[in-house]
C-alpha cells in the first residue's frame, strides 16, 4: 500500500465528510428539498471501491457514496447543485440528491429501488464486450438490505452466467433503515452467497479500516479486471447515524456504537496517518481547510444559480418529441 494512495483516499473521504456535514446543516436549515442520506462511516469502503476504477470504467453508486462519487470524478459543484436544486445540476431539478448521475460518463443515476442498478452496470459491460472493448470493469454498491431483493439475485446470477468483470460491493452497515440484520438475512455471512452464485467472494471484516478496504476491494477489482468474473465484496461496518437526516437512529444499540466495529473510519485513518508519520498535523489541517473552502465555494456557487423554472421546463419525457402523446388537456 503506497503512502500516496492512502492519502489520496483519505483526502476524498475528508471532502466527502465535510461536504455531507454541510449538506446536513443546510438540510436542518430547510435549504434542501427531499432527503439527505449520508455516507458517514462508510467513506473508506466507498472511496476504496471508486479507487479501483479507472477512466472508462462503469460505476453504479448508491446513497452512501459521496466519497466514491467524488473519487470517480464527479465534481463537488455538481453534487452540491443537485442538493440545492440548481437548474445547472446534472438532474436539473427533475430528480434529486443521491439520484444524480451522468450515465454517458460511466456514472449511473440510481433509482430508489434497491438492486436495480446492478444489471444496468452489467448491461453496459455486455455492450463493451459486444464491441470487442476489453480492459474495463464495472463496480456497483449496495447495502445488506439490498441483497434481499429479487433484483439483486437476478443480477448477480446474470453477471455470473455472463462472467462479467463486475465488482459488487455490499456494505453491511447493520441496519437497513431501522431493520437489523437478524430480520434481513439468515445466512452466516453474506459473503457466503458468492459460493451459491459461483463467483469469488471477499470478506472485508473491518470496513472502517481504510488500509484493509483499499487492499481487499482493490484485490477484488484486480481479479475482475484480470478476467476472473464477478467479485462479491462484503464489508462490515456500522452506520454512524440514522438512515437519513430525518432519522435519529435511536434504535441502534449503544453497545454497537461503543464496539470497535462502530469506530469512525475517518478517525482511524487520521490516527494511522499520524502514527505512521504519513503526514504532519499541519498538512492535515491544511487539507481540512482546503476541503472546507471547496465546500463553501461549491455551496456559494450553487446557491447563486437559478432554480428550475416550470414555465421554461420542457415537460417532455421522450427524446423523440414527435411521438409524444401530447394529450394532457385539463379543464381551464
Amino acid at each position: 500500500m503506497t503512502r500516496e494512495r492512502f492519502l489520496t483516499a483519505y483526502r476524498w473521504m475528508l471532502l466527502a465528510r465535510i461536504s455531507e456535514e454541510k449538506y446536513a446543516s443546510l438540510y436542518r436549515a430547510g435549504k434542501i428539498y427531499g432527503g439527505v442520506f449520508l455516507g458517514k462511516g462508510q467513506e473508506a469502503v466507498s472511496v476504496a471501491t471508486a479507487m479501483t476504477l479507472r477512466k472508462g470504467d462503469i460505476y453504479g453508486p448508491l446513497i452512501r457514496d459521496q466519497a466514491g462519487r467524488l473519487a470517480f470524478g464527479e465534481s463537488l459543484l455538481d453534487a452540491t447543485r443537485t442538493y440545492l436544486g440548481s437548474r445547472h445540476g446534472p438532474m436539473r431539478g427533475r430528480d434529486g440528491n443521491v439520484h444524480r448521475g451522468k450515465p454517458r460518463e460511466g456514472c449511473m443515476a440510481m433509482i430508489s429501488h434497491l438492486g436495480a442498478m446492478i444489471s444496468v452496470v452489467s448491461g453496459a459491460l455486455m455492450a463493451r464486450r459486444a464491441r470487442g472493448e476489453t480492459g474495463n470493469i464495472g463496480a456497483v454498491s449496495l447495502g445488506e438490505g439490498g441483497t434481499s431483493t429479487g433484483a439483486f439475485h437476478e443480477a448477480v446470477n446474470q453477471a455470473a452466467v455472463e462472467k462479467l468483470p463486475l465488482l459488487i460491493v455490499v456494505t453491511n452497515n447493520q441496519f437497513a433503515y431501522s431493520t437489523p440484520t437478524t430480520r434481513q438475512f439468515a445466512c452466516r455471512n453474506l459473503v457466503d452467497r458468492a459460493i451459491g452464485y459461483g463467483i469469488e467472494g471477499h470478506l472485508l471484516e473491518r470496513g472502517n479500516n481504510l488500509n484493509e478496504a483499499l487492499e481487499v476491494i482493490g484485490r477484488a477489482g484486480d481479479r475482475a479486471r484480470a478476467g476472473h468474473g464477478p467479485q462479491l465484496v462484503v464489508a462490515s461496518i456500522l452506520r454512524l447515524g440514522g438512515h437519513g437526516e430525518h432519522d435519529d437512529g435511536h434504535y441502534v444499540p449503544d453497545e454497537m456504537k461503543m464496539a470497535k466495529a462502530g469506530a469512525d473510519c475517518m478517525k482511524l485513518a487520521e490516527h494511522e496517518i499520524l502514527a505512521e508519520g504519513l503526514a504532519t498535523p499541519q498538512e492535515m489541517e491544511q487539507w481540512r481547510a482546503s476541503a472546507l473552502l471547496q465546500v463553501e465555494e461549491a455551496v456559494a456557487a450553487a446557491q447563486r444559480e437559478p432554480a428550475p423554472d416550470p414555465d421554461t421546463e420542457a415537460w417532455q419525457a421522450l427524446s423523440t418529441p414527435h411521438l409524444t402523446d401530447g394529450y394532457e388537456r385539463s379543464p381551464v
Partner: protein
C-alpha cells in the same frame, strides 16, 4: 408466397440485425432454440453472438438492456410472454422510462411482449398489459394488428431513441397472413381506417381489429356500415383520427381485449367525451374483457374476451341509443 404475422416479426428482427450492428436480441430461449414461438428462428446461427439466451430473470434482462442502451446499443428484449414482464415492471417503468427525462441519456430499448389470449393460454399466458405501460410517461406502446404493421413498426421501434413496448398478439401469430412484406409504412402515431363506414365508429387495436372487422362484415349484411379504426399504437394515441371518424358517424364504441377498469378503451371514451362531445349523437360505449383473470378453458376464454358476436351486440345497442 405468403408470410405470417410471426414470420414478419422474425424478418423484421433479421433485418434490424443485418442493418444495424448495435442491435442484439436477448431473452429466454431465443438463441439456438429460436424462441418459445420461433420469433428468432435461425437468427442465432445467422448472427452469432448477437442473439443471446438469458436466465429466467426478467428484471435483470431489462436492467442489462438499459445499461447496454446507455452504451449505445439497441437491444431487442423478448419477453417469453407479456405476462412475465411484470417481473421486469420496475426496470421498465422506473428505470428505462425515466432515464431520458432524468439524465438526458437516451434509452433505445425494444421490449417485445407476446400478448393476448389464445385458447388454453390461461391466467398467466394471456394478458394484455398495454394499458398498464401506457400509463407511465417515457414509454411508447405499439399494438400492431396487421402483418405489415408487425414488420414495419418493429423496424421503426428499433430506430426510436426511447423505450418501446411492442405488444405483438399471439393469436395473430399464425392466423394472420399477408402476401408479402411491406415496402412502405405508415408512421407510428397515426391510426388507420381499417374499414370505412357511416353508421358507427369502432375504435380498437391489435387482435380486436380482426374481431371488429368480422363484426362489420356481419352487420354489413343487414345494411349497417361500421367504421373500424385501428389505433396501431396506443401511446401515442391518434386522437385526431378517432375524432374525425366520430364526426362522420356520430357514434363510438371502443373495444379492447384488456380488463375493463381504466385502460385504453376508457382513455378513448374520455378523449372523445371531452374533445368530441358535440360530435356524438349518443353516449359512447366500451367493450372489454371480463373483470376476472383470463380463463384457461376455451369455452370460458371465448366468452371472457370480446368477439365479433359480442361486438356486434354492442354496436346494435349503440345504434339504438
Amino acid at each position: 408466397m405468403s408470410i405470417t404475422y410471426l414470420e414478419a416479426i422474425r424478418e423484421a428482427q433479421a433485418r434490424a440485425l443485418a442493418e444495424d450492428p448495435r442491435v442484439y436480441i436477448y431473452g429466454q430461449d431465443v438463441g439456438a432454440f429460436g424462441g418459445a414461438f420461433k420469433a428468432t428462428k435461425n437468427l442465432a446461427l445467422e448472427y452469432p453472438g448477437r442473439v443471446i439466451d438469458a436466465p429466467i430473470s426478467e428484471d435483470a434482462i431489462v436492467g442489462s438492456a438499459i445499461g447496454a442502451a446507455i452504451e449505445g446499443m439497441r437491444p431487442i428484449i423478448e419477453m417469453q410472454f407479456a405476462d412475465f414482464s411484470t417481473v421486469a415492471f420496475n426496470q421498465i417503468v422506473n428505470n428505462a422510462a425515466t432515464l431520458y427525462w432524468r439524465t438526458e441519456t437516451k434509452c433505445p430499448i425494444v421490449v417485445r411482449l407476446p400478448s393476448g389470449g389464445t385458447p388454453g393460454g390461461g391466467p398467466f399466458h394471456s394478458q394484455c398489459l398495454e394499458g398498464l405501460y401506457a400509463t407511465y410517461p417515457g414509454l411508447i406502446v405499439m399494438t400492431p394488428a396487421t402483418v405489415e404493421d408487425a414488420y414495419s413498426m418493429l423496424l421503426e421501434a428499433v430506430q426510436i431513441d426511447d423505450p418501446v413496448i411492442f405488444c405483438e398478439h399471439k393469436y395473430l401469430y399464425y392466423h394472420l397472413k399477408a402476401e408479402a412484406l411491406p415496402t412502405e409504412a405508415m408512421p407510428t402515431g397515426k391510426a388507420r381506417i381499417a374499414r370505412a363506414g357511416r353508421d358507427a365508429t369502432v375504435v380498437t387495436y391489435s387482435a380486436m381489429v380482426h374481431e371488429s372487422l368480422a363484426m362489420a362484415d356481419e352487420l354489413a349484411l343487414e345494411g349497417i356500415e361500421v367504421e373500424v379504426v385501428d389505433l396501431r399504437s396506443i401511446k401515442p394515441l391518434d386522437t385526431d383520427t378517432v375524432l374525425a371518424s366520430v364526426a362522420r358517424t356520430g357514434r363510438m364504441l371502443a373495444v379492447g381485449e384488456a380488463w375493463p377498469w381504466g385502460g385504453v378503451t376508457a382513455e378513448i371514451v374520455a378523449r372523445v367525451a371531452c374533445e368530441g362531445y358535440n360530435l356524438l349523437d349518443a353516449a359512447p360505449m366500451r367493450l372489454n374483457a371480463k373483470d376476472t383473470p383470463v380463463p384457461f378453458h376455451p369455452n370460458l376464454w371465448g366468452t371472457h374476451r370480446p368477439t365479433a358476436r359480442t361486438i356486434a351486440r354492442a354496436v346494435r345497442e349503440l345504434l339504438r341509443r
